[in-house]
Symmetry: C2
Subunit: 240 residues, 2 copies
């Protein structure tokens, strides 16, 4: 049985403008791989309503799970929750349980729970909250879509609480063989091994080091014995 699939939607002008580097994608990719969920696609779109809604609808139709990051804070450019409500065609308003969480948080800190902060309690109808142990303002899940914050510490906490709720597959295992020869030298035999092991994914990732070419050959799959077998073939063909 093939593993379940996932997609990620990153909402953020700051990444597309080159101002910051995304850190969440790499984290999510690693966490999903551990539980046997196949991250098939990532899209990064700007803080634009139409772009977010149409990407979200395309991804949630094509994949078992969609995880979004970014755009759920209190400022005017945080429009993700409204876009999700629009994509699902459900109403959105301040929800009492989310409001109460935030109210208690700001009361404890002696900070004003103003209108901007109340925006973070706006949750589409029918969603369930995702806990935020870092800064309280919750994410939410609706249908197969999980809406998380973009701040990496918060994103990671939300991923940790959502992943156990997802249906995983067989964990994806991998082994890597470093070959100190150019890809062009190894491509022929490598294609033969890939053909002999159609149940495995065999990738070649070239590098250059001190002026010499090499490649990391990565064998991935769910059957450890088959991976061992393919690695043995590779080691024979490309001895260190």
């Amino acid at each position: 049985m093939p593993n379940p699939t996932a997609a990620m939607l990153v909402i953020g002008d700051e990444i597309l403008s080159g101002r910051t580097r995304d850190a969440n994608m790499h984290h999510l990719a690693q966490e999903l791989t551990k539980v046997g969920i196949d991250l098939r696609e990532v899209r990064i779109v700007s803080d634009d309503r139409d772009a977010i809604v149409s990407a979200l609808n395309a991804l949630r139709a094509a994949h078992d799970t969609v995880i979004t990051s970014g755009g759920i804070g209190p400022t005017h450019d945080d429009i993700t929750a409204d876009c999700v409500a629009e994509a699902f065609d459900v109403p959105i308003d301040v929800r009492e349980d989310a409001r109460a969480l935030l109210q208690a948080h700001y009361d404890r800190r002696g900070m004003e729970f103003n209108d901007a902060r109340k925006r973070m309690a706006r949750i589409p109808d029918g969603a369930t909250l995702i806990e935020n142990p870092v800064s309280i303002a919750p994410g939410f899940s609706i249908g197969n879509v999980h809406v998380m914050a973009g701040v990496p510490s918060v994103f990671q906490a939300m991923v940790a609480s959502v992943i156990p709720t997802l249906t995983g597959g067989a964990p994806i295992l991998s082994q890597t063989l470093r070959v100190d020869r150019g890809e062009g030298d190894i491509a022929g035999p490598l294609a033969q091994i890939a053909a002999d092991f159609p149940d495995l994914s065999i990738g070649s990732y070239p590098f250059q080091q001190n002026g010499a070419y090499g490649s990391n050959v990565v064998v991935r799959g769910t059957d450890g014995a088959r991976i061992d077998h393919a690695m043995a073939r590779l080691s024979e063909l490309f001895p260190a």
Copy 2:
């Protein structure tokens, strides 16, 4: 006049599996920003023919320019050139000028120009080559699509040679004000400034440092005087 738009298509299982972090997106985002081209969307897809072809067709229809990275090496998992030919519905075969470049390169190094390496001379009909000063195997441009290698040093060299050929817009300028207050405190006045400067993009990017909340407010646009004006308003509202 709005600036031209661009999209990027990253082809690579190794990023989706969490094995490596993409470095090319950040570089391209910064280079496009310098010449006033608005990077609107990035998609990362796996080494899968249907996924590549359909993403490419969607992006090239929606944006002025599309830049791809990855999948043009000599190994069996390098299928980008074939997918581009399929998307444009044109034939693909070994092309003489590309073949001659590679032949001379391997002759100079005393290496065999084998069938795997000849695959790197397969170019869709009607494309023009993109020079590769690092490892010779060329990229290519067809229609509004520019196909580049995934190895960062090669990708960067190809970006440097293609960008001068693109129609740019007014360079996008930006200034950042660091505000040592939580986003919830500044969101109200910030929304007012964003409304007063509809020609600028005003984003708020929260951070946490030593347990305290802060935000970087970034003002972007093409008119330096307007940005100065907005920054002066921001500095008045949120003094250091």
